[in-house]
């Protein structure tokens, strides 16, 4: 019997390490600290593990460094080489599970009907209705119902009413991967629309009349403007390089009344490398302020965030101020285009600044429009060059907006972080697969749970107490001066609690809101009792007429998600247990 005392080291300081027992389950790595009186647990979902690294032997044992996709970094020291080796190999296998993802195991003891209904909780098609569609300018088409037109789009597309079928088909043929121009957001107030697509296959000189007609149809669908913007979110140089490969960008001479614009957001590879550099900055042990700021600058991360934000602001202004429509694309139209369109939607429409609205937006602009979550998040062992923090950047832009508009959003930072966690956790089916068709093939709606009802149930935690819906349909006009962009410590150093403010204003206010709900309830109770005593109200009568409990939100437990769930296979593989099992 070996006495395994695994140490969990502090990432930054030489503080006394925590000693405890490491468990590997089918889905989680769990470290149970046994050195303190209160049982402290660290749960890491295998899907979150980005890299596992074995380091050479130190004085205390074999170091094993684990970095997670949610930026949790843990350094273990394991006393025995064999166990270290075991853990290492198990984690490598478990974190890259081929096609056997957590979502297919996850079973929170819910009714099958509830599970199925859960998938209907967010219906992105409903959002078109909310925008007032179909109307005299726009309609929904089922031309893509079998994914024949475009395999990476979803099946219902918004297109201008005046676009003929052959125009649509022709345009799709002229666009990279068939990703034809389709409606992303319609702004009722201005008639301006945001449409999205992929780059045209224009090469050096090719043109396509149907595509030109398609753009004209989009332009015509907005009676308030004589022109439309075509925004290529790539740097001009990249777009030009694509021409040599038979792709490229619109030649403004061929399209009538378009204003063409590059906005210069870098590609997924630049973003991946930038994040890598940013994380290196975060990992520095006791850096000087200069090291940190220079590192932050050299990573280029905030420059990229600003570029995305600038593009989003450009779109929102075009639609709201110039009442113009905008067509947006990058190369394939599933990364930068998704970022920019969804950001512009948030700026233009307060619905997306609500808890439910953000779900709809993510469902609509990211999931159903074919953002390749499986590849970008590296859910399964695949091409590392396809991994890129595109969605993380979108959330960071939203966070930046929340910093500038503390009363403008119904949700708080925790909501963004929890969504980010689940994008990578594969606990729910929503972010699995690269497009709608793939998800249908995987039959995710039959086999997995949707994350949205789960988040909705816990919404009390994600409320921004300062939210004022009175801001109404005000278009947000954030400043994009560099000094308004801050390093998102809550995301990238989320697990380094020492760096966070020791007292959280948000938590404080959430507690007050909770107390307020209870207080209001008590007040009504007391008032009623007093009334009864005064003889104003009859006793039984009040009991009957009491409103049902559900009108008041019961306090929601703030339990960690991982503790709420049950795993189908309860087998816990204890890898380093012996001493620990006695202690627990």
């Amino acid at each position: 019997v070996l006495h395994m005392q695994v140490q969990l080291l502090d990432r930054y300081t030489a503080k006394k390490p925590a000693i405890g027992t490491l468990y590997l389950t089918a889905t989680h790595l769990i470290f149970v600290e046994t050195s303190c009186n209160t049982r402290k647990e660290t749960w890491i979902i295998h899907h979150h593990i980005a890299t596992v690294e074995k380091l050479p032997l130190t004085g205390t044992g074999y170091p094993l460094n684990i970095s997670c996709k949610n930026f949790h970094v843990v350094h273990f020291v394991i006393p025995s080489e064999r166990y270290c080796q075991d853990v290492y190999h198990s984690l490598l296998r478990l974190s890259q599970p081929g096609n056997y993802l957590f979502a297919f195991l996850y079973n929170p003891k819910q009714d099958e009907d509830d599970r199925r209904n859960g998938w209907g909780f967010i219906d992105s098609a409903m959002d078109f209705k909310r925008m007032g569609l179909p109307n005299e300018f726009w309609e929904l088409t089922d031309l893509n119902k079998n994914y024949e037109l475009c395999s990476t789009y979803h099946s219902e597309l918004g297109i201008p009413k005046t676009a003929r079928k052959d125009t649509v088909l022709g345009s799709a043929k002229f666009r990279s991967r068939g990703r034809l121009p389709t409606l992303s957001y319609y702004h009722k107030e201005s008639n301006g629309a945001i449409c999205r697509c992929s780059q045209p296959l224009s090469g050096i000189s090719a043109r396509c009349l149907e595509d030109e007609e398609m753009l004209q149809a989009i332009s015509r669908a907005n009676p308030n403007s004589t022109f439309m913007y075509v925004v290529d979110t790539r740097p001009k140089l990249n777009a030009m390089a694509n021409r040599a490969a038979g792709k490229g960008y619109e030649n403004a001479d061929n399209y009538s009344n378009i204003r063409f614009q590059f906005v210069g957001i870098e590609n997924i590879h630049v973003m991946r490398n930038s994040l890598q550099k940013l994380l290196e900055v975060c990992a520095m042990k006791s850096p000087t302020m200069s090291d940190y700021l220079t590192g932050l600058e050299n990573s280029g991360w905030l420059r990229h965030i600003k570029a995305v934000m600038d593009a989003g602001v450009f779109l929102a202004k075009a639609v709201a101020d110039e009442k113009a429509s905008v067509l947006v694309h990058c190369s394939d139209g599933w990364d930068r285009t998704a970022q920019v369109c969804s950001l512009a939607s948030i700026l233009l429409d307060n619905f997306y600044r609500t808890i439910k609205g953000l779900m709809v937006l993510i469902e609509k602009e990211w999931i159903s429009m074919g953002h390749k979550f499986t590849q970008r998040c590296g859910h399964v062992d695949g091409d590392p060059k396809e991994v890129s923090p595109v969605f993380t950047q979108f959330l960071e832009c939203v966070w930046n907006l929340m910093e500038q508009y503390p009363c403008g959003f119904e949700y708080n930072e925790k909501y963004l972080l929890e969504i980010h966690n689940h994008v990578y956790s594969c606990q729910f089916g929503n972010f699995i697969g690269n497009c709608q068709r793939e998800r249908e093939e995987m039959r995710l709606k039959e086999k997995t749970f949707s994350v949205w009802p789960f988040l909705w149930e816990n919404r009390q935690q994600y409320i921004n107490p300062l939210y004022k819906c009175s801001l109404g349909r005000e278009v947000l006009r954030p400043s994009t001066l560099p000094l308004n962009f801050k390093f998102w410590c809550g995301m990238y150093n989320h697990f380094d609690k020492g760096m966070q403010p020791k007292q959280s204003i948000l938590d404080h206010l959430l507690t007050i809101i909770q107390k307020r709900v209870e207080g209001e309830k008590k007040m009504t109770d007391f008032q009623r009792k007093l009334a009864v005593m005064d003889g104003v109200l009859a006793d039984e009568c009040t009991l009957k007429s009491r409103p049902p409990e559900q009108t008041l939100m019961p306090p929601v437990s703030v339990a960690h998600t991982s503790k709420n769930m049950q795993i189908k296979e309860e087998t816990i593989i204890q890898l380093a247990p012996t001493a620990g099992s006695k202690q627990i």
Partner: protein
């Protein structure tokens, strides 16, 4: 001298005032002895009421006969005045220049200001050394209040009364003073009630190149150690800088002569370096043409955040020595009037919950800055725009501002542990640089006594401690926290103090709104809980009164 001589043109009509994020105002510009006033004369409201003393520098520009004066203020605001007529513009400009750089302190506005409010409690008497010593006496009898400096002869920058170890007589103090920079012999700064450890501060010892020593100085500081205990000397300078100081007669305590003390050197920069940083930082914040890389690189190059980190780190070290190591500490740099005070005052914020209250913080500023002889007049004569002014000896430096910045950092990390809000810190920044109150005039207690400030001017504390003002400056999130609060000094945890540096460079509408909403939520909940409690009481009374009803 009459102010009228300096005011060549007292009034100009048709002046246009431009400020970022505020509507343009056209109105009449008036110059008085102490104010620049611009009024559109609508609804009798003044659009601008600016103290000349708040003006850091001005720039003139002409396009034809339309002149423009850019007024850059010490509170970092920049405003533009378009003045029709070249002569008027030149007159106004030269008057502002003269009036904003008055030589004589006694011509400053505090000597003319008459309060529009009733002084309930005279701030000049709110924080007397005698009173704070009474608090000390209630905790320990190891210290005494010495009046050795009654006539400011032993140390010009010390107050008349200082706390010293009981067993050390005045004669020893005089001899120790002769061995310390500018006579600043070690005195008590803070007594840590929890374990009886103390923090002292002083000027550097005058060891010089040949290692002079002073038995009295050694005796004085050793008298603060318990038997068998060692203490820490925190020298705010790097060892290299401290070495260089020897050549100019200064130096540091050698191990040989101070065997009971362990010396630690830190790297807080000299005040002239801090001033450079402020200028660079404000320039970076005001230039809106920067791209992201340029902004970050300028922010880095300003080194401002580096100073914040260094000062906080040193303060944490001092606090750690006292609270965690259970050792007494002596802090000094060169003069003992700048970096020393930053460290001793911040350490108290960390250690002592009293310092985190509105009154306690005033007492701290009074004790550790004003009484301790921080030369406010010199340091605050210019702010970030005062580059290349007519001042002969450059001695301005944002030492106090850096202290406030550090307090803000701790406040941000412990938003519920301070009785005051950020507004109080911003207010102190403004008043340190330009004020209608006399509190920050003069460089030392001696100067303030000579200027008779307490008789001739109003104290800032008189105003701040009125109930409505204290209410405005209080932190709605405050919940008394008696613990030591350890701030994080990781770069990720230290932010640019937007409330000061970006204050004029962005619209504050959304942030103000959020603050009001927060206050509203908290106030509403308080009222609600009160109501609930009173209903509960009513109910309980009724229930005991009338047992028949008690059948539920």
């Amino acid at each position: 001298m009459e102010f009228a001589e300096l005011i060549k043109t007292p009034r100009v009509d048709g002046v246009v005032l431009r400020r970022p994020f505020q509507p343009t105002v056209e109105g009449t510009l008036c110059l008085t002895g102490h104010h620049l006033i611009l009024s559109s004369r609508q609804d009798n409201t003044e659009e601008l009421w600016l103290l000349h003393a708040n003006i850091d520098c001005i720039e003139k520009r002409f396009v034809g006969t339309l002149g423009t004066i850019i007024v850059k203020c010490k509170d970092l605001r920049v405003i533009q005045l378009d003045i029709p007529g070249m002569e008027e513009c030149l007159n106004i400009a030269s008057s502002i220049e003269a009036l904003s750089t008055l030589d004589s302190v006694s011509l400053m506005y505090p000597f003319f200001y008459r309060p529009m409010f009733e002084v309930i409690e005279d701030g000049w008497n709110s924080f007397l050394p005698e009173d704070s010593f009474k608090d000390l006496e209630s905790m320990t009898d190891e210290w005494r209040l010495s009046d050795v400096n009654q006539d400011y002869c032993v140390c010009a920058s010390y107050p008349p009364l200082v706390a010293v170890p009981k067993d050390v007589d005045d004669d020893t103090l005089r001899k120790a003073a002769a061995f310390r920079h500018a006579g600043r012999f070690p005195v008590l700064s803070y007594y840590h009630k929890k374990n009886g450890m103390v923090m002292m501060r002083s000027g550097q010892p005058l060891t010089g190149t040949n290692g002079r020593r002073c038995k009295e100085d050694e005796k004085l500081i050793n008298a603060t150690l318990r038997a068998g205990k060692r203490g820490y000397i925190i020298d705010t300078r790097t060892i290299a800088v401290a070495q260089q100081a020897k050549a100019r007669g200064g130096g540091f305590e050698s191990e040989a002569n101070y065997p009971q003390w362990r010396r630690i050197h830190k790297a807080i920069e000299r005040s002239s370096v801090l001033q450079e940083s402020l200028i660079k930082l404000v320039e970076a914040c005001n230039d809106q043409s920067h791209n992201m890389d340029r902004w970050l690189s300028k922010l880095e190059a300003s080194n401002w955040q580096t100073h914040v980190k260094e000062i906080l780190t040193t303060a944490c070290l001092a606090a750690q020595c006292i609270d965690r190591e259970g050792a007494s500490v002596l802090v000094h740099g060169t003069e003992g009037t700048d970096s020393t005070l930053q460290v001793t005052s911040l350490a108290q914020i960390i250690l002592d919950p009293t310092c985190r209250t509105i009154r306690g913080f005033q007492a701290l500023v009074e004790r550790e800055w004003l009484q301790a002889g921080h030369p406010f007049q010199q340091r605050c004569v210019q702010s970030a725009y005062g580059n290349g002014s007519s001042v002969k000896v450059r001695c301005e430096a944002p030492v106090f501002l850096l202290f406030l910045d550090c307090v803000w950092q701790i406040l941000r990390q412990f938003p519920c542990s301070f009785q005051f809000s950020e507004h109080f810190l911003v207010l102190l920044f403004e008043h340190a640089y330009a004020s209608q109150f006399g509190t920050f005039l003069g460089n030392s207690a001696a100067e303030r006594a000579k200027l008779k400030l307490s008789q001739k001017t109003v104290s800032l504390w008189s105003w701040v401690n009125r109930p409505q003002e204290a209410q405005r400056l209080s932190n709605p999130l405050y919940e008394a926290n008696s613990l030591v609060i350890w701030p994080s000094v990781a770069p990720q945890s230290l932010l640019l103090w937007e409330g000061v540096f970006l204050r004029w460079n962005r619209s504050s509408r959304c942030l103000d709104e959020a603050y009001e909403e927060m206050v509203h939520i908290i106030e509403y909940n308080k009222e609600l809980q009160n109501k609930v409690n009173s209903l509960r009481r009513q109910l309980a009374e009724l229930e005991t009164d009338d047992p028949l009803q008690h059948t539920e």
